[in-house]
Amino acid sequence: MKKVLAVASGGGHWEQLMMLRSSLDPHDVCYATTRRDMAATHGIEPVAELLDCNQHTPIRALLCLIAAIRLVLKARPSAVISTGAAPGFFCILAGRLIGAKTLWVDSVANAEQLSMCGKLSKHVAHECLTQWDHLASDTKPLFRGSVL
């Protein structure tokens, strides 16, 4: 059993993370999200809460990054997995600092190109998956099926 940090913002990102639960739940998983109430509807309590942010909210992004680093230092995961968005990317960044293996799963909503965080994760995460075959490359992102 591995220690895993699984992160997704509220909404579609979170619903997609929940679709991966059968692969996550055999492990010791710490879940983190921006919407505690969404986690509760899936019976996930406790959950670590992160501030929602994006490229247009730099102050919140900085606070979120700090919180992500604190969370990773506390949880000490061996793997960090995120289905997006920016708060999940920050956890992957923080995961690299402690030597965790990191996986970005780009949202299935991104059918035309990877999200901005998805593009960044190609350089930061150990592995990067797209959920669309036509967006895949030989290394990053790879295509390995989708939540749909």
């Binding site: 591995k2 895993v4 509220g10 909404g11 579609g12 990102h13 979170w14 619903e15 997609q16 929940m18 679709m19 991966l20 639960r21 059968s22 692969s23 996550l24 055999p26 492990h27 919407r35 109430d37 969404m38 509760a40 509807t41 061996s78 793997a79 997995i81 293996k101 996986l103 799963v105 949202s107 299935v108 909503a109 991104n110 059918a111 035309e112 150990h126 592995e127 998956l129 959920q131 790879l142 390995r144 099926g145 989708s146 939540v147 749909l148």
Partner: protein, 160 residues
């Protein structure tokens, strides 16, 4: 009851306006979650500022969901086994920053329980079609086995 939802992020007045016109012709009440939209519906009960639990209760009580083509709503409808009619947001109408919802709707349109209205003109017909034939498979929705295996393998070995 029919639940109309536009997701948490953006308004979608084209959908709300169209549903407000269609609502009196349907044989059941229509409840609308309009997000940040400006249009105030007259023929639909307005519910905003719902937390996730309250929203799920509405989904559970509904006979049909009418929604933007957002993944969160689609997956919630699947999980609670509700039929859903999708109408994709369009970038040329300033409804989203790009046309990813069109791609999502194309990908989803052949799935059981999901119908797509490509414009508001098709909305009424599509809703009636869904209400007349709303059988959903009783399978627990989950990601493809390929994706689940990739994630499981990654956790074990640190690589895909």
């Amino acid at each position: 009851m029919i639940l109309v939802t536009v997701g948490m992020q953006l308004g979608f007045d084209r959908l709300i306006r169209a549903m407000d016109e269609i609502a009196p012709t349907l044989d059941m009440p229509v409840i609308a979650q309009t997000g940040r939209g400006r249009y105030r519906p007259i023929n639909m009960e307005l519910h905003n500022n719902l937390d996730a639990g309250q929203f799920e209760e509405l989904v559970a009580d509904s006979k049909l969901i009418v929604s933007h083509a957002g993944i969160g709503t689609v997956l919630t409808a699947q999980r609670l086994r509700k039929p859903i009619v999708l109408i994709p947001r369009q970038a040329d109408l300033n409804e989203h920053r790009n046309d990813h919802q069109l791609a999502t709707a194309k990908q989803l349109r052949s799935r059981p329980g999901i119908l797509v209205a490509w414009s508001t003109n098709e909305l009424g017909v599509t809703i009636r079609k869904s209400l007349a034939n709303s059988t959903l498979p009783h399978v627990e929705p989950q990601a493809s086995s390929e994706l689940l295996n990739a994630v499981a393998g990654f956790i074990e070995r640190g690589q895909i």
